[in-house]
């Protein structure tokens, strides 16, 4: 159970190797925290010691975003092992070169299966648990790439657009249940996932995304843009005529 300061006792990161997810967990840890669960395909690569602090148990556990049939059992298992889930961060996701996806439909389908389908099904399972326990906060890592999808990464962008819409709707559906959803929309984030890519304007870092996310959680916000300037920028982008949008040098 979260305390009156909004401090979580149990934190779960789905996508336990995600730098953003880990940075969020790191910032959420307080003297009230008991457990941090890092869940992902490769539990042995989670480096649990990085998040360990006195009094906090950090666990790495296997989780497969594409095993949609197993998501509900996975969430129930977490509760049996660790009690109520206070904050769950959906941080997993894949990024791929659009040019490759143009000719590899199976890779495109696999990306959608992780970024959208898997995120949806596990979020539904988490939401069901939140209803059972009468409280809980779900953090969904969306992206500005979904706000207006661009030609340079439209498969990835569309997966985030879908997820963003889903997460907003889920948040609305949870009103009055004690549970809530925070949608995080970072811009370009310097991380392993984007290594070697040309940084877009307003680029940010996992630690800045984490700081903004934790602040938004404490305030009870439903969405947060990182950096905050991207919100007005994208409200302009959203309304640009298509002819202008596709000519913008955004890659």
């Amino acid at each position: 159970m979260e305390n009156a300061l909004g401090e979580a006792q149990t934190i779960v990161v789905l996508g336990g190797t995600s730098e953003i997810g880990r940075a969020i967990a790191d910032r959420l840890v307080t003297p009230s925290t008991r457990t941090v669960v890092l869940a992902g395909r490769r539990p042995t690569e989670m480096r649990v010691e990085e998040l360990e602090e006195p009094g906090v148990v950090v666990v790495a556990t296997p989780f497969d975003a594409t095993d949609v049939a197993g998501h509900d059992a996975f969430v129930r298992r977490l509760v049996v092992d660790h009690g109520d889930l206070d904050v769950v961060v959906v941080a997993f996701g894949e990024l791929a070169d659009q040019a490759e996806l143009d000719h590899d439909v199976e890779r495109a389908a696999a990306l959608i299966a992780v970024n959208y389908t898997g995120a949806v099904t596990v979020s539904l399972a988490v939401a069901a648990q939140f209803r059972r326990q009468g409280h809980g906060k779900l953090v969904v890592l969306s992206s500005v790439a979904g706000e207006r999808v661009r030609k340079g990464n439209f498969v990835y962008g569309s997966s985030k657009a879908g997820l963003d819409g889903f997460a907003q709707g889920l948040g609305d559906s949870l009103a009055g249940t004690g549970a809530s959803v925070l949608v995080v929309r970072p811009g370009f984030v310097h991380s392993r996932m984007t290594e070697g890519m040309k940084a877009a304007p307003f680029a940010t870092t996992p630690s800045k995304v984490a700081a903004a996310t934790v602040k938004a959680l404490r305030r009870g916000s439903r969405t947060v843009w990182v950096p905050g300037t991207l919100r007005p920028v994208f409200s302009v982008f959203r309304h640009l005529p298509g002819a202008v949008w596709r000519r913008l040098p955004l890659g």
Partner: protein, 455 residues
């Protein structure tokens, strides 16, 4: 999943949703039906929700409310006792008993608490140094246990259950009614002495030396005053007034009692609240300066002396959407240095805090989870949005626990299971009693899960 209500404590923090079930405490058949069919998340009784944190909420489970009529109270004038249904509030009870010349044995700073809640939190008031806590004035009670059975408890009958229920935060069973001591009064007024006290040392000495001459004694400290002004306060001490002390026009109806609400905070306060460093600093300054340097025997009404905040309805809204926390600590006598350090750290933090209260406790009762014990108790309100509040509270926790002190469940919103185990060394004993009356864990709350009270 249907019919869930989002509940918080008075601090309006950490909401959770539960199914709220309402019965009269007289309807034991219906109550037994609800109690014996608790969902996996269990149930918890809730009075008027005046605890600050999460003891009267139970996410995903049941919250049981008793709706009782104060007219069902039975007052025994010869023994000066009253048998009261647990869902009756002190507010309603006072309406019944004050005009007939009695007062409640203990009242907290609000009269909007139920008898059941007063027992579960083992509340205290300004007379603790003389009369003890509320539980010390309960002669007997009837309870419904997790198996739906109704049992009698008193200090002589099932004493373990009786004392485990006093201060037991509703986790041992449902109190149905209780017989409590009443205090005979001649008038509904109080004769109040007020003294402005310049600093902490003077305050502690004055309280130590002269508390015993007054039934009621409490100091209001300005927690933002620093340096030489640290602990500057207004000490108020009082007795129930006799008829002779009243003005002739008030002596005509000496027991007249008409508490009222003068205004109510509307639900449209800005999200950040209106309570911040500057508004509170100004408030504390004005309030200290407007208090008389010394006044003796001034006549105050019951609401003005005991329940000044009740005159403003829903004042908790002033803190905005994020709500606020109340930090109440106890340090034993001899640990005044720790008390001073707590005040110094609070003042140095710049946390906007008003209405801090210092009270000297008398002796403890036998209840294992009762908060009051010989020592000093300090109570501070702080907005939840205060920067660095978590670190500050955890620092204060360490000071309090190292001094052999503890925290009050009815106010807590932030401590940890470890802090509770240190502060309440008899927790294991309490758990053992609880396990005998609730082996299946039918009673549970957000507080019990957060602090792992039930093991």
């Amino acid at each position: 999943m249907t019919g869930r209500t989002l509940l918080t404590g008075w601090g309006r923090t950490a909401p959770s949703a539960a199914e709220v079930i309402v019965h009269s405490s007289r309807n034991t058949a219906a109550l037994a039906g609800s109690v014996t069919s608790m969902p996996p998340r269990g149930g918890i009784p809730r009075g008027l929700g005046r605890s600050y944190g999460d003891p009267a909420q139970n996410g995903g489970g049941v919250v049981l409310r008793l709706q009782d009529d104060a007219d069902e109270t039975v007052v025994d004038r010869t023994s000066a006792t009253a048998t009261v249904p647990a869902g009756v509030s002190l507010d309603d009870l006072l309406d019944v008993i004050v005009p007939s010349g009695f007062f409640v044995p203990v009242t907290p700073g609000t009269r909007f608490v139920t008898i059941g809640g007063a027992i579960a939190s083992d509340i205290h008031g300004k007379n603790h140094h003389v009369d003890g806590s509320f539980g010390s004035n309960v002669l007997r009670m009837s309870m419904m246990l997790a198996d739906g059975s109704v049992v009698e408890t008193s200090p002589g009958e099932r004493p373990e259950l009786f004392w485990a229920t006093i201060g037991g935060m509703g986790l041992t069973g449902l109190v149905l009614d209780a017989t409590i001591r009443l205090l005979p009064i001649e008038t509904s007024q109080l004769a109040v002495d007020t003294d402005r006290v310049p600093d902490l040392d003077t305050l502690l000495t004055t309280m130590e030396e002269s508390d015993r001459y007054f039934r009621y004694s409490v100091a209001w400290i300005d927690p933002m005053a620093r340096g030489a002004h640290l602990g500057r306060s207004v000490l108020t001490r009082a007795e129930h007034a006799t008829v002779d002390q009243l003005l002739p026009r008030d002596a005509v109806e000496p027991l007249a009692y008409a508490p009222g609400q003068r205004l109510r905070v509307p639900p449209i306060v800005p999200a950040r609240g209106v309570i911040n460093h500057w508004t509170i600093k100004a408030f504390n300054e004005i309030w200290y300066r407007k208090s008389p340097r010394r006044a003796v025997g001034r006549i105050h009404s019951i609401p003005a002396f005991f329940h000044p905040l009740d005159m403003v309805g829903a004042w908790n809204r002033l803190y905005g959407r994020i709500g606020f926390l109340q930090y109440q600590l106890l340090v034993p006598f001899g640990q005044e240095a720790a008390l001073r350090e707590v005040l110094e750290r609070l003042a140095a933090s710049g946390a906007p805090s008003f209405l801090s209260v210092l009270k000297r406790f008398g002796s403890a009762n036998p209840a294992p989870l009762s908060f009051p014990a010989p020592g000093w108790t300090l109570t501070v309100d702080v907005p939840g949005a205060t920067r660095g509040l978590s670190a500050l509270f955890h620092t204060l926790d360490a000071l309090v626990l190292d001094a052999g002190g503890r925290h009050y469940f009815a106010k807590d919103g932030h401590t940890t299971p470890a802090a509770i185990e240190r502060g309440y060394p008899r927790l294991t004993e309490w758990r053992a009693t609880r396990d005998t009356v609730d082996p299946g864990g039918a009673w549970a709350s957000d507080l019990s899960r957060r602090l792992r009270l039930t093991g």
